[in-house]
């Protein structure tokens, strides 16, 4: 089922959007969507790491033994994250302040390990890069749309430029954690609706699917146990 390069890239934008369809990397999504600027910063940083890790993992996919696959991936990812950290530190202290703790936490962003596990270690380098770019772009786009909504409603600005000043008071709750959860929930509902029209299933929390440990994953095994109980009845 070979895909054209464009398909490889574009699937991350809509159909398999990591945030809205696969629901990966929720923490960063919620925390850094208070403004459009933060969203773009985070999106680009993550894309960089994603491309780096996908490329190297795809290159090394035949070399890395299964037993230490995960530590190897994590090391690779952590290295790229650190590089991004250093670059941002060196060139944009403001962005560093804005991203804060979530910059090092890119390491554990499920998108990256998820793509490594689901894509890069099964595919050649070029598709892996395209996949990474697409996923990164999808992540950035989703973050940006959330960022724009929350910034617009919560501060009355977009990219820091006043928009609604004068006729609409900012509704600060959109900047606070409740607003983050709420906007995220509605966006997923909208994405579900759109996907439904195309015959897709509603989004489920994707961490499990993307997670290399999914076989042992709590959510799934707990669910399975439930089902078992039910059928046993």
């Amino acid at each position: 089922m070979a895909k054209t390069p464009w398909q490889e890239f574009s699937k991350g934008l809509i159909k398999e959007n990591p945030v809205l369809r696969l629901v990966l990397g929720t923490c960063a999504t919620l925390a850094l969507s208070t403004s459009a600027n933060n969203a773009i910063g985070m999106g680009l940083a993550t894309t960089f790491v994603l491309v780096g890790s996908n490329t190297t993992i795809s290159l090394l996919r035949k070399v890395i033994p299964d037993r230490v696959r995960i530590p190897c991936y994590i090391t690779l990812i952590a290295a790229f994250v650190t590089i991004v950290q250093m670059l941002i530190e060196a060139f944009s202290p403001d962005l560093k302040a804005a991203l804060g703790i979530f910059l090092p936490l890119i390491v554990v962003n499920c998108i990256i390990l998820g793509r490594a596990e689901m894509f890069a270690n099964k595919n050649k380098v070029l598709p892996s890069i395209l996949d990474a770019l697409g996923m990164g772009a999808g992540f950035t786009a989703a973050l940006l749309s959330m960022g724009i909504i929350r910034e617009l409603l919560g501060s009355g600005t977009v990219f820091g430029l006043p928009v609604t000043a004068g006729f609409l008071d900012p509704i600060i709750i959109f900047l606070l954690p409740p607003g983050g959860f709420f906007v995220f929930g509605l966006l997923i509902a909208v994405a579900n609706k759109l996907a439904e029209r195309k015959g897709g299933a509603p989004a489920e929390l994707g961490c499990c699917a993307g997670c290399p440990f999914s076989a042992a994953c709590a959510g799934q095994s707990a669910q399975k146990e439930d089902e078992k109980e039910e059928t046993a009845k």
Binding site: V23, T26, C27, L30, A31, I70, P71, I74, T75, A78, A79, V81, T82, Q85, M86, I101, P104, L105, V107, V108, N109, C110, L113, I173, L176, P177, P178, G179, G180, F181, F182, F184, G185, L186, I188, A189, N192, K193, P202, A203, E204, L205, C207, C208, C211, P212, F213, A216, C217, A218, G219, S221, A222, Q223, D226
Partner: protein, 202 residues
């Protein structure tokens, strides 16, 4: 000192709640909170790993990385340590305390890639940098408190999810969207704790 520790502990539950205020560990919060018992199991496992991870990373940072000016290795070293630790804990539990393994073991692998664990190790270092009086003990209390805060959020949310499970929810909101809206309303209620801990103990 004790007062300060209590303040750190309470703050990490109420005002700096990882899930509801800081947006860390959202995946398990949304994913494993469907049932009360899984929510509790996961949170206990997270708490254990948080404490052990902090106990391991804090000394390494303060006594190895920082003196040699290698702060920039923080991320890579921490994540390696956490990954190895979690695996070790899992293996040890499975071998020697199977009962505990059966209760918590299934959650352990999930925790390696949990923001909250890496988050707590990084955040306590940050706090220690900003405040000289924030030492190892404080870091440990903070880690433990964050775990308990995670537990509180998980348990409360699990109760709500069990309650709304049979609700007549509009079709397009079913599943993840309504869970997020419920999380939003839960987070609303945590807005009121601001200043409480400082007021009581500060």
């Amino acid at each position: 000192m004790i007062k300060g520790l209590i303040a750190i502990f309470l703050a990490s539950i109420l005002t700096e709640n990882y899930v509801l205020n800081k947006f860390l560990g959202i995946c398990p919060f949304l994913g494993v909170s469907k049932k009360l018992d899984t929510a509790t199991g996961m949170s206990v496992a997270v708490t254990v790993v948080m404490v052990i991870a902090t106990a391991a990373t804090w000394p390494i940072y303060t006594y190895v990385l920082q003196p040699s000016g290698l702060e920039y290795l923080q991320t890579i070293v921490f994540i390696l340590i956490i990954a190895a630790l979690v695996q070790m804990i899992e293996i040890i539990l499975r071998k020697y305390i199977p009962s505990l393994y059966n209760a918590l073991g299934i959650y352990l692998p999930l925790i390696t890639t949990n923001c909250a664990v890496l988050g707590v190790t990084v955040l306590v270092i940050e706090k220690g940098q900003a405040d000289a009086s924030f030492g190892f003990v404080q870091a440990m209390v903070n880690a433990f408190g964050s775990g308990i805060g995670f537990l509180v959020a998980m348990v409360l949310f699990a109760g709500i999810r069990e309650r709304i499970e049979n609700n007549d929810i509009p079709k397009s909101l079913r599943g993840l969207p309504i869970t997020l809206v419920a999380a939003s309303l839960t987070a609303v209620s945590f807005l009121g704790f601001q200043g409480l801990v400082e007021g009581m103990l500060g």
